[in-house]
């Protein structure tokens, strides 16, 4: 087994189902790294206790195996006893490229931490799915990621309204790769347009406010346009 070329070992590991990766990492030394990379590539937290266990029980060495984490998903965490733990979980993940937040409360201090560069510098994909946060918090999060390329917002940003804060960013940002904006997402489309975001790919629910402005702003850059006219 150990005489196999590394490419072949990697190809075998890439075809294994996730539950098998724990065992494949024990086959031989040359099987370990790829198995760990795949096992840790995407992680999902479904409770604050899980996040807590990750922060306290997993070696938080940024050079260690947590550098294999590329995608993190917070799901069904409707409130936090310790909101700071959200940021702590992200802090040591230096290879993270995608953040998904689904049915989960986003702590208000998170955008500040991101803006200050404390967390999430490498994140290029942000998915917000049925978060209960306000339009202001949603926009703060979107604006705080300096390298954002892909933005999916479904039924988010319609929580009770806080102070609206939008600022033009068009002059600072190149067009983003794509925006998917669906469902009950409050005034997020309008606020994105007011903030000057442009995109190359747009997938929009036409019933949302600001859709026409978004298309108009991206008129020179948009390559693919999907309109959902239900």
């Amino acid at each position: 087994m150990n005489s196999l070329p590394q490419e072949l070992i990697d190809a075998i590991i890439d075809r294994l189902p996730l539950p098998s990766l724990l065992f494949s990492s024990l086959v031989a030394k040359r099987w370990r790294q790829r198995s760990q990379q795949r096992a840790l590539e995407k992680i999902r937290f479904r409770s604050e206790a899980q996040v807590n266990r990750w922060c306290t029980g997993f070696p938080q060495d940024p050079e260690g195996i947590i550098s294999y984490v590329r995608v993190i998903r917070f799901q069904d965490i409707f409130s936090w006893d310790d909101p700071a733990i959200f940021g702590r979980a992200l802090k040591s993940l230096c290879s993270l490229i995608e953040l998904c937040v689904s049915w989960t409360d986003i702590p208000v201090e998170l955008p500040g931490q991101i803006s200050r560069g404390e967390i999430g510098k490498g994140i290029t994909i942000l998915r917000l799915h049925r978060t209960s946060c306000t339009l202001a918090t949603t926009m703060s999060i979107v604006l705080s990621f300096p390298n954002l390329e892909v933005l999916y917002i479904l039924d988010s940003g319609a929580g009770s309204e806080g102070p609206r804060r939008s600022r033009p960013v068009a002059s600072q940002r190149a067009p983003l790769d794509s925006l998917k904006l669906w469902g009950n997402s409050g005034g997020i489309g309008k606020t994105l347009a007011e903030s000057g975001f442009m995109f190359r790919r747009l997938s929009l629910d036409v019933g949302l406010s600001g859709v026409e402005q978004l298309i108009m702003l991206s008129s020179e850059t948009v390559v693919e346009l999907a309109l959902h006219g239900v």
């Binding site: 036409v206 346009l225 999907a226 959902h228 006219g229």
Partner: protein, 128 residues
Amino acid sequence: MLTNFPDRLAQENPCHTLSLPALTTLGLNLGKGDPSPCLITILLSISSAPALGSITFRHDMWFNIDRPFQGPWVDIDRWLTRVAQRVRVQGGLPVMLECWPKGMPVWEGFLPGFRRAGGQVKTDVRSW
């Protein structure tokens, strides 16, 4: 007696001047119904998309093929006709229909203006 039918394109969208020069693909998801007024309004605001290579209509159910061509589809047809005339892509602008009953031809009266302008209506391979 002659009746003048007002051109809704001009009437509802006097400044339909939105040009999308880089647009190559347009997908229109209709759910289970006809194109909604919001969708029509947005489409009518697009005056040209010269690089457009395909338009796909996606439907969650079969298109009803046994009814007269009317309602919002008339607006869609006029808009498609206008866009098709300005497309600079070789081979013209095809309209793809997803969720079309497999083996069923597209009825002749569907998108008549667009067809007269040289547009093609095809069913997608993902048809039922």
